[in-house]
């Protein structure tokens, strides 16, 4: 059997691990959500643009993406927005923790 102090520190350690896991889950979930939302907004903007969906959808990505190919452009935008989502979420969590 462990002593009271050992139990106390072990429980605190496990609590920290659980909180970390919970934060990681939140970050992943929010990042995915922000990526989906970003893609949806781009899609909506392209669809609502006066020049029509067919012309504007690839060009929206074409103009913003690093790649010359529209599909690769789409992939890079999704990746970049995912990274952006991760950064923003981590920042929000850090601010929340500091506030607490």
């Amino acid at each position: 059997m462990r002593s009271l102090d050992e139990k106390f520190y072990e429980i605190k350690k496990r609590e920290a691990r659980l909180r970390y896991k919970k934060n990681i889950k939140t970050v992943g979930l929010l990042s995915c959500l922000s990526t989906v939302m970003f893609v949806f907004i781009v899609y909506l903007a392209a669809k609502l643009s006066p020049s029509g969906f067919k012309n504007s959808f690839p060009s929206v990505f074409y103009g913003a993406a690093i790649s010359q190919h529209p599909v690769l452009g789409l992939v890079s935008i999704i990746l970049l927005s995912f990274l952006l989502g991760v950064c923003v979420t981590i920042l929000c969590l850090k601010l929340k923790n500091e506030k607490n």
Binding site: M1, L4, K7, I11, K12, E15, R17, L18
Partner: protein, 183 residues
Amino acid sequence: METDEMLYRSYLNGEDEALRVLIEKYSEKLTLFIYGMVGNMHDAEELMMDSFAILISKNKPFLGRSTFKTWLFAIGRNQARMFLRKRKISAINFDKADFPQDFTPDLYILKNEQNKILFRALSKINPMYREALILSYFEGIGLDELSGVMKISKRRASDLLYRGKASLKEVLKKEGYNFAELG
């Protein structure tokens, strides 16, 4: 005198000492309860610490629907059940396991010879009866709290206790003890 709920709130407000008091008060009781479910003292202690960690990482205030003790024991019970499910153990057979050898009375409750006899007899009855009886006899949990911990109706809890007592009596009788004397 601070209640468990007050101590828990104090801990959430940053007082580590409150957690220490709660651990001191409940760690052995919870370990004994989990031991009755998993049949191994080392695993029981690990699961007890997991239960405490889960409880304090929740960061939720009490809604008053249950007591701290009920909440803690319900988490402990879930942890033990998950542990048994993961290891694909449907029922612990203390007879076949190294129960008598593993039965080191580290816990203060088991230092009492009478309790030791009772606990050994409890290990031979149905797990559901065992859970109910351990909570009732060793932890002093009432019918209301028992139904909360086991997530069953009061009627069912009362039924489990009744049938559990009957099984325990039978086991004790077979071993040559008198249930009323141990009572």
